[in-house]
């Protein structure tokens, strides 16, 4: 009996080792990890991709953009997902990383103002929003807010500032808008995935932010397009660079994306925020790219698979049944093609890529 169990154990162990060996030998194994914002889209993508590419296995995890960036750089994961572009600091720390935009997202301001009629269109600009988030505007009937919204009647109730507690790409995009439009915000707090919030209360994840805003009379918060659609929330129209007040939607985000890619000064490697910088009547000023980070140090066979996946994601994957349904706007392709080719050539030199059409 003793011998039997011992040998059975050894056999099982050997089997496990063999299986692990097989798993390593299979090149079509990829892991994507990082941004929790991009996670829902990656889930539907990986499902669809594995269906149409039998033998490929993709594991997806939501671990936060920071984890995605650092682990893509050190090779623990194949693709790191990030809401933020590679800033100069990050590029210096992780020189092997290349960022590829895979979808569009945005950040929108939501509110719960007691007594305000449902459906009232509210407008706000960057400096006013920054003053609210710095605790300098404390009541909803503040003069700054009333001047921006002459038609709305605000109650004299306290503004309760709500923000994210975890490090989040949504926060990065939101604080980017504040930093670009308000000098005080830029000097004192700046843009970050997890900034030092001067006031307010923090919640873990966008769902919790929505719940807290809905439950707290007088609250103001921010979430991405996916949550606005899912919970049918009202959001404020933000003032863009040309002075227009634009509400976030798939169309206005795409307009921002198109403006960025048509802008000849926009860098080829997309390593720049597109928040606020863009001109146009219907350009939403707080939209951003979602990125995949890939290390150029990946072994050749893995890289081939990664590239196949990226090209699929940028073409078939941009279909609205994946992107819009999970709260993203598809990338516009005409101006993207040549720039993207440069990047893809950078991670796997010698091949040209044909991106025919987008969603």
């Amino acid at each position: 009996m003793k011998f039997v169990t011992r040998y059975a154990g050894a056999a099982a162990l050997a089997g496990l080792v063999a299986m692990a060996g097989v798993g390593q030998a299979q090149a079509a194994d990829m892991s994507i990890s990082g941004s929790s914002m991009l996670f829902p889209l990656e889930q539907v993508w990986s499902q669809a991709y594995m269906k149409s590419h039998p033998g490929t296995h993709i594991s997806v995890a939501s671990t936060g953009s920071g984890f995605g960036i650092s682990n893509a750089a050190n090779g623990n994961i194949t693709i790191g997902a990030s809401d933020a572009y590679l800033t100069r600091d990050l590029k210096k720390r992780y020189p092997s990383l290349v960022s590829i935009p895979v979808a569009f997202e945005d950040t929108q301001v939501i509110y719960n103002i007691p007594g305000l009629a449902k459906g009232t269109a509210l407008r706000i600009d960057g400096p006013t929003l920054a003053r609210i988030y710095m605790g300098k505007i404390r009541f909803w009937d503040d003069k700054g807010l009333r001047d921006l919204n002459p038609d709305a009647t605000f109650p004299h109730s306290r503004i309760k500032v709500i923000h994210r507690a975890d490090a989040s790409g949504t926060t990065f995009v939101f604080t980017d808008y504040l930093a670009q439009t308000s000098k005080a915000w830029n000097d004192e707090i700046g843009r970050d995935l997890s900034p030092a919030w001067p006031i307010g209360s923090g919640y873990n994840g966008s769902d919790a932010v929505v719940a807290a805003v809905l439950a707290t009379p007088g609250a103001i918060g921010y979430v991405g397009l996916g949550w606005i659609n899912e919970y049918h929330l009202d959001s404020m129209a933000l003032k863009n660079r040309d002075g227009y007040f634009v509400k976030g939607s798939v169309d206005t985000i795409r307009a921002a994306g198109k403006a960025a890619l048509h802008d000849p000064t926009f860098p080829d490697d997309f390593n720049q925020s597109m928040v606020w910088k863009l001109h146009g009547k219907d350009v939403y000023p707080d939209a951003n790219f979602e990125f995949w980070m890939v290390s150029t140090a990946l072994p050749g066979s893995t890289m081939k698979e990664v590239k196949k996946l990226i090209i699929w994601s940028l073409t078939k994957g941009q279909n609205e049944k994946y992107t819009v349904k999970t709260g993203f706007a598809p990338l516009p392709f005409t101006p993207l093609k040549s720039r993207l080719n440069k990047i893809l050539n950078h991670i796997l030199p010698g091949n040209t890529v044909n991106i025919e059409s987008g969603g």
Binding site: G66, A165, A167, S194, A196, S201, A212, A215
Partner: protein
């Protein structure tokens, strides 16, 4: 140790009439001897007719086997003990190494700096320390009286049929995952605080003391503290009840014999006798409240500011780590600062536990030593 066992074994063998067991205890731990089957075979012959020399050979073999299995057993135990030591040293060592950039840069001032700005590379623990102690304090202030009263009720006043049920419920309560309490806090405690308790506090005590005023968010140190308190109650109550049950019957009877009423007996005899038990359980509860993460994270409002009112939001060390550690790994100084926070939490609980144990020993030395269980 092994030599001692050896002597014992020898003396056993010296008595001729003492038959060694046919199969040595713990023989499953012994390595296989090549002639194992033979030994087994001769053991089965033993009952019929075994010569004297066979018996001696068998005894010797069995004795060797016993010794060997003993030794292996001891070695296994020692490895287990060593593993605990190693584990502790590793946790401490790795944390120290990883936290070193922060320790080196900020020194002791880390403790009382209230700025935490990853963007500017300034890190200080003060707001998180204060938040942690606020939540722990509110939890204990809320939990201890309720727990002690319920323990007294269960041990002396509750009818028999109730005791079993309530005690079981209390133990079950202690086993519920904290996230469940956190969810309960969001759907029940937060609305209750926001709509009733906090406005009431602000309108009564709040007029006189800023400590009770505020804007009634629902989320904040009060809700977090109360929910952690709910988690601490079963812990303190069960340990206190166990201490009460262990009070010798004679002591109680002596009190009655001296003419005290039931209430006097409970108040003057039982309660003082379980003070060490209560202190022990409070220390346990303190440890639980200090490290509680998920429920606090859901309820406290996660804002790095020093609360000035019971209605304010705050931040604890453990919820900060849970919220931002995956992001902090991107920056060596940031992650070092967070690990240093974790180290501080570790040191606090070590100090509290040690102090608590010392205190307990001192108190137990004085009265009713040995009759009272503690933490």
């Amino acid at each position: 140790m092994a030599a001692h066992e050896h002597e014992q074994g020898d003396s056993l063998l010296a008595h001729g009439d003492h038959r060694p067991p046919a199969v040595a205890p713990l023989s499953f731990l012994a390595p296989d001897l090549p002639d194992n089957d033979e030994a087994q075979g001769s053991a089965s012959d033993l009952s019929s007719s075994a010569s004297e020399s066979d018996l001696k050979r068998l005894r010797r073999k069995s004795h060797v086997q016993v010794l060997r299995s003993e030794r292996i057993f001891h070695l296994t135990l020692r490895l287990g003990g060593l593993f605990i030591l190693l584990l502790f040293a590793t946790v401490l060592g790795v944390s120290l190494v990883e936290a070193w950039p922060s320790i080196e840069k900020f020194g002791w001032s880390f403790l009382w700096t209230s700025t935490w700005n990853p963007h500017r590379h300034i890190f200080g623990a003060w707001t998180y320390l204060v938040g942690t102690f606020w939540v722990t304090g509110i939890a204990l202030v809320f939990a201890i009286p309720i727990a002690i009263l319920s323990a007294l009720f269960l041990s002396d006043y509750a009818p028999k049929w109730l005791v079993g049920g309530v005690s079981t419920l209390m133990e079950m309560l202690a086993g519920i995952p904290s996230i469940v309490f956190g969810a309960f806090g969001i759907i029940f405690v937060v609305p209750l605080m926001r709509d009733h308790v906090e406005p009431y506090l602000a309108n009564t005590l709040g007029h006189h003391f800023d400590f009770f005023a505020g804007d009634s968010m629902g989320y904040g140190i009060l809700s977090a503290g109360l929910v952690v308190g709910i988690m601490v109650i079963p812990l303190v109550a069960t340990v206190t009840r166990d201490s009460l049950v262990m009070i010798p019957r004679e002591t109680v009877e002596a009190a009655y014999a001296l003419g005290s009423t039931k209430a006097e007996m409970v108040y003057f005899v039982k309660l003082p006798a379980v003070v060490p038990g209560i202190i022990g359980s409070v220390i346990l509860g303190f440890g639980r409240a200090l490290g509680e993460t998920m429920a606090v994270l859901l309820l406290i409002g996660n804002q790095a500011s020093v609360p000035s009112s019971i209605q304010d939001v705050g931040y604890t060390i453990s919820s900060l780590l849970a919220n931002t550690f995956t992001y902090a790994v991107i920056d060596p100084l940031f992650s070092a600062a967070e690990i240093e926070l974790g180290l501080i939490l570790l040191v606090i609980s070590l100090v509290v536990n040690t102090l608590g144990r010392e205190l307990l020993l001192k108190l137990m030395g004085g009265r009713l030593a040995g009759s009272v269980g503690g933490g």
